[in-house]
């Protein structure tokens, strides 16, 4: 196995920085390559892209699921967008979602995932396995189940949190601090992905570099900053991008707070659900979807910028 001669694009860089330099050595050829891609593309095209674009088109109408506008929807052009952009609840939802993403994904899952991966690096096998299993359980269990687990844990009268704080009945957590609750919940739910990713990333840092740094007398913090982080930079960026996109549109917190109380935790997925299903306003929710798509696109572009900016600097 000659890994030392690997010159192919580094992991995660391939997508972030452009097509790989090596040519098509396998001899797939353009046409066969397209043939390989065809099944996936067909499925995606028919069952994702087509309905998605249709939804965006609905955003330009006043279509509702029931009522007169269901029978004969009219194209109202940009009215839904105008309504969204002048609706304070829409801005509130965006603001809450950004806080949610920043707190639980960008900071929470990233930091905790990294911290756990780093701490477990040198732990005993049994400890490592147990920890990984617990963290992964939070990610694997279905959403209805974990929602119930957290509702039970945060219950005002008998929930485990209040029992531990020796206050029953204590604070009604989901009502008093809804955003905090869903942020902590999402950290619990999603850290697994980051932890596994950083685990793999850390194992790819050459041990010789770490040895050198340690011999030179750097503290852990310095070692992290100067040796580890540059190596895993691209892992970190891909990870952050993915979990940002996923967290931004995550619906599960709705099962805990239903966007409440009084809209105080109405992240965008809850907002769309409330307008589409409870309000029946498909036109408006279609418009919101497009706006959310554009915002996500913006975030993705920011990441691309950061990724390419750093390309020249690393080894």
């Amino acid at each position: 196995m000659p890994p030392a001669e690997v010159t192919a694009a580094e992991p995660a860089a391939a997508v972030l920085t452009g097509p790989s330099p090596t040519a098509d050595v396998v001899g797939l050829g353009r046409w066969r390559a397209l043939g390989f891609v065809a099944p996936a593309l067909a499925l995606i095209g028919v069952f994702l892209v087509f309905p998605a674009l249709w939804t965006l088109y609905i955003g330009a109408t006043n279509y509702r699921l029931t009522g007169v506008a269901a029978r004969s929807p009219e194209i109202i052009g940009l009215d839904n967008y105008r309504r969204a952009l002048t609706d304070p609840t829409f801005y509130r939802s965006m603001r809450l979602t950004l806080v949610f993403v920043l707190g639980s994904a960008v900071l929470g899952q990233n930091v905790l995932g990294f911290a756990l991966a780093y701490a477990l690096r040198s732990a005993r096998r049994a400890v490592r396995r147990t920890m990984e299993a617990l963290v992964l359980l939070g990610w694997i269990l279905p959403s209805s189940v974990v929602a119930f687990l957290w509702i039970a844990m945060l219950d005002r009268d008998e929930g485990t949190v209040n029992v531990l704080l020796r206050q029953t009945p204590g604070v009604a957590w989901l009502i008093a601090y809804p955003m905090t609750c869903i942020i902590v919940f999402n950290i619990w739910r999603g850290t697994a992905f980051s932890m596994m990713l950083y685990s793999a990333a850390l194992s790819s840092v050459p041990p010789s570099h770490l040895e050198t740094a340690r011999l030179a007398g750097s503290s852990t913090a310095q070692m992290l900053r100067d040796v580890v982080l540059p190596h895993i930079r691209r892992y970190a960026l891909t990870n952050t991008l993915l979990i940002t996109l996923w967290t931004f549109n995550d619906f599960t917190p709705f099962l805990l707070t239903a966007g409440g109380p009084n809209g105080r935790s109405e992240i965008v997925a809850a907002y769309i659900y409330n307008t589409a299903i409870i309000g029946g306003d498909m036109g408006y929710s279609g418009a919101i979807s497009l706006l959310v798509l554009l915002i996500n696109l913006l975030l993705a572009l920011v990441y691309l910028r950061v990724a390419r900016a750093g390309k020249g600097r690393t080894a």
């Binding site: 890994p3 192919a8 580094e10 992991p11 995660a12 997508v15 090596t22 098509d24 050595v25 396998v26 797939l28 390559a33 099944p39 996936a40 593309l41 499925l43 995606i44 028919v46 994702l48 892209v49 087509f50 309905p51 998605a52 609905i58 279509y63 911290a115 701490a119 732990a123 939070g138 990610w139 694997i140 959403s143 209805s144 189940v145 039970a152 844990m153 219950d155 009268d157 008998e158 485990t160 029992v163 990713l197 790819s204 340690r214 007398g217 852990t220 891909t238 993915l242 996109l245 549109n249 619906f251 659900y273 589409a276 299903i277 498909m282 929710s285 919101i288 979807s289 798509l293 696109l297």
Partner: protein
């Protein structure tokens, strides 16, 4: 590094692991205590009366077992579709520079993350209706696959990019067809990545509520994710005994599957050949 520093590091490590363990284990406790309690509440406590009657109650529910079977069928079906299609596509996209590849992948990834079942509910329903696939599990599998493929391809392509091409080159020299190369050389090496995608797909499908709910009519075809939402009492409040018990049963298959995949393949998102 000085001894003090080493000790501090050690302590910090243990604290992180300790707090982490507590944090992740705590919410799970309810799932272990409530199903065995005759009258469970939201609290975690040793059951006042330990009982297995709740499980019997679930067994008497006409749809409980069939819903778990349906969940398995949907999950496996989607997993097969996604892994095969994603493997083919990721391999081709990794090895061949198709113009616009990156832009397309990003666009699809964005689309699949943002446009979820709720917003696209009406178009998906009408589309499936036109294809005459309403009330069929196949329809659900197709819709779920379409939604999961972009991320699957994204992740798998990343993984395959890290696999050196030397073996494929050699095989090509010996005249093997690309499909053969894919099957005999790349797939065995890419197994951890594919296992990850498989597990991820199964987890997503296992918890999927809205799509099966909208597209399926026959209660015998409903998966467990839909059934678990029906456990309300006559009066409309959640039946904690049934919910906790069924949640436990509902969770077990995914956990088993994950353990199986993990022990056989490891759970790596990046890697390929390790040094």
């Amino acid at each position: 590094m000085s001894v003090a520093r080493a000790v501090v590091n050690r302590v910090l490590t243990y604290v992180v692991i300790g707090v982490g363990t507590a944090f992740f284990a705590l919410p799970l406790l309810w799932l272990l205590s409530a199903p065995f309690d005759a009258t469970p509440t939201y609290g975690v406590r040793p059951p006042s009366r330990v009982t297995l009657a709740n499980f019997g109650e679930i067994g008497r529910n006409p749809y409980a077992v069939s819903s778990l079977v349906n969940s398995v069928l949907l999950a496996l079906g989607t997993m097969i579709v996604v892994v095969v299609a994603a493997a083919l596509a990721a391999y081709a996209l990794s090895r061949v520079h198709v113009p616009g590849r990156d832009a397309l992948l990003y666009a699809l990834l964005l689309l699949s993350s943002v446009i979820t079942g709720t917003a696209a509910m009406v178009p998906i329903f009408l589309l499936i209706f036109q294809l005459n696939l309403i009330d069929s599990r196949a329809g659900v599998v197709l819709v779920l696959s379409g939604g999961l493929l972009p991320a699957a391809i994204f992740l798998l392509k990343d993984f395959i990019d890290t696999i050196p091409r030397s073996y494929e080159e050699s095989a090509r020299v010996f005249g093997a067809s690309p499909l053969r190369i894919l099957r005999d050389i790349v797939v065995p090496v890419a197994r951890p990545g594919m296992a990850t995608i498989a597990v991820w797909t199964i987890v997503q499908v296992w918890g999927s509520f809205l799509t099966p709910f909208i597209l399926l009519r026959d209660p015998g075809k409903q998966p467990a994710a839909v059934l678990v939402r029906t456990f309300y009492t006559e009066g409309g409040s959640p039946n904690l005994a049934l919910i906790s018990t069924f949640s436990l049963l509902y969770s077990i298959p995914v956990v088993l599957m994950y353990l199986f995949a993990w022990s056989r393949y490891g759970f790596r998102f990046h890697g390929g050949i390790k040094s």
